[in-house]
């Protein structure tokens, strides 16, 4: 619950968009319109696999004009702890899920004079929503969308129809790659760049931007780290007086929630900072996977982001 208000939803439609991406259309169980959101927002979906609760963030693709449904896109990831696998194998039209209120950690900068949207693979989901909002606002924008091959591009037809030649595709199998030396030069002052995709791509684009003299304020990225599994360990929640086991296929945050403690979160992807928790002591080595804490904070061993980080060792004592 600590991601805020939750909304029970029913899956009204499941569409196999590509071999590895499914799109789900969700409607509120209550029949009421779903809250509107700004492009770039995500929801956290709670899945219940026979009592095992999993929660994954998914970017919102769009909201029906009458507000009756949301769409999310889910990539089936091979090393998933189970969330995307569950969505792909077990969730069908008619099933129920729970989503949080939309949260936007990747908003469009309204004062920007131009917007470059860069997506790799499933990173297209927030970018898709942003492109539609920019088109509605008659803003100036470009979409650069990289994918393995045309068959794995989840939204190509819809994007082409809506954005015409503002859309540029880059197909790995045709040796086409997004290159910063092509997209960054000669952009008007006041241009903002937004990138969502695999780690390596995000890092390369951001570095390219900084090397080209772009101000940090104009470079935006969203990475949803799927929390990596790892070795099991125990966690002691000191204030609650609870000791729990973190299984290897579970994130620390999921184990805390399973133990009945209502811990804060927003992105569940190591980016927003909401789940920051003080470490009282630990017997083992902290494995930090987030993009929020600084290197010094990681080294200090005093804090941990429970959504993506864990312990390699025996026991972790948290101030919770």
């Amino acid at each position: 619950m600590s991601g805020g208000v939750e909304i029970p939803v029913r899956v009204v439609d499941v569409e196999q968009a590509t071999q590895t991406v499914k799109r789900f259309r969700l409607a509120a169980l209550s029949g009421e319109p779903l809250p509107s959101f700004s492009a770039g927002a995500h929801v956290v979906v709670t899945m219940d696999d026979n009592g095992r609760r999993m929660r994954n963030p998914y970017s919102l693709i769009d909201r029906a004009d009458d507000g009756s449904t949301y769409r999310i896109g889910v990539l089936r990831t091979p090393n998933s702890r189970g969330g995307s696998k569950f969505m792909h194998e077990r969730v069908n039209a008619g099933d129920q899920l729970v989503v949080t209120m939309p949260v936007n950690l990747f908003p469009i900068v309204r004062t920007g004079r131009k917007h470059l949207l860069v997506a790799g693979g499933i990173g297209i989901t927030p970018i898709y929503a942003m492109a539609n909002e920019l088109r509605r606002r008659s803003a100036s924008y470009e979409i650069h969308y990289a994918m393995r091959n045309e068959a794995s591009g989840a939204f190509i037809d819809e994007l082409r129809a809506a954005h015409g030649d503002r859309l540029k595709l880059y197909r790995d199998d045709m040796q086409e790659f997004v290159s910063v030396s092509q997209i960054l030069p000669n952009q008007p002052l006041g241009t903002h760049l937004y990138v969502c995709g695999p780690e390596g791509m995000i890092d390369a684009i951001l570095k390219g931007g900084r090397d080209a003299g772009w101000a940090d304020e104009n470079l935006h990225s969203e990475r949803f780290l799927a929390p990596a599994g790892g070795e099991p360990f125990s966690v002691v929640l000191q204030r609650a007086g609870i000791t729990a086991e973190v299984r290897s296929d579970q994130s620390l945050l999921e184990a805390i929630e399973e133990a009945g403690v209502d811990a804060p979160f927003l992105c569940r992807g190591g980016a927003c900072g909401q789940c920051e928790t003080a470490v009282v002591s630990c017997d083992g080595k902290l494995v930090h996977n987030d993009h929020f804490l600084t290197e010094e904070e990681h080294a200090s061993g005093k804090k941990i982001m429970t959504c993506v980080s864990r312990l390699k060792g025996r026991e972790l004592v948290l101030d919770l």
Binding site: L189, T191, A212
Partner: protein
Amino acid sequence: MSAIKSRPIYPGLKVDERAKRHLVAAEGEGALAVLEAFADAPDAWSRMTLLYTPGGSAPANHSETLQGRAPDAFHLHPTRQTLMTRLNALLDTATMGTRLYAAGVEGHIGEVVAAGLAHGVDHLSIRTEHRGSLARRVQCVHCKGFIDDVTISPVPCAHCGVPLFVRDHYSRRLAAFQGVSINAETPDEVPASEELYK
């Protein structure tokens, strides 16, 4: 300065070495801030477009010193107004990789920042340094006219004549403090002006 929440802070000019173009707008004593900040970055001058106006409050004209450092382009302007016209034209065609710098009195910095904002530049990426007098740029809330170089409060509005109390409320968009009639209830009484922002 920091006691006022809406009052901007000016962290000082800091050269961003990665910038492909340094677009520098200096007023009066702000020239000294430019000379100091760029003293350690000799290469940066060859990528600098420098706009300078000696300004009303400055005791000296630094244009020769600035020009002596051989910026790539140097524009000397008789007034802040003509400088802003030129700056806006440059911003219209500037490309990403350009970093904007402003140094001088507060009114000048405010105008440069507002011009940057209007061109989609985030105010946090604009490098600013305050030099020279603490004179304020004030907007009369009654007639909406602007008054520059205000050092006293109350100050008579240069446009509608109403005596204005200069509030500590700063608008980044307007680049001005707010001036409000001080004697709306008692038009016959005008409190004596005090010099506050020298």
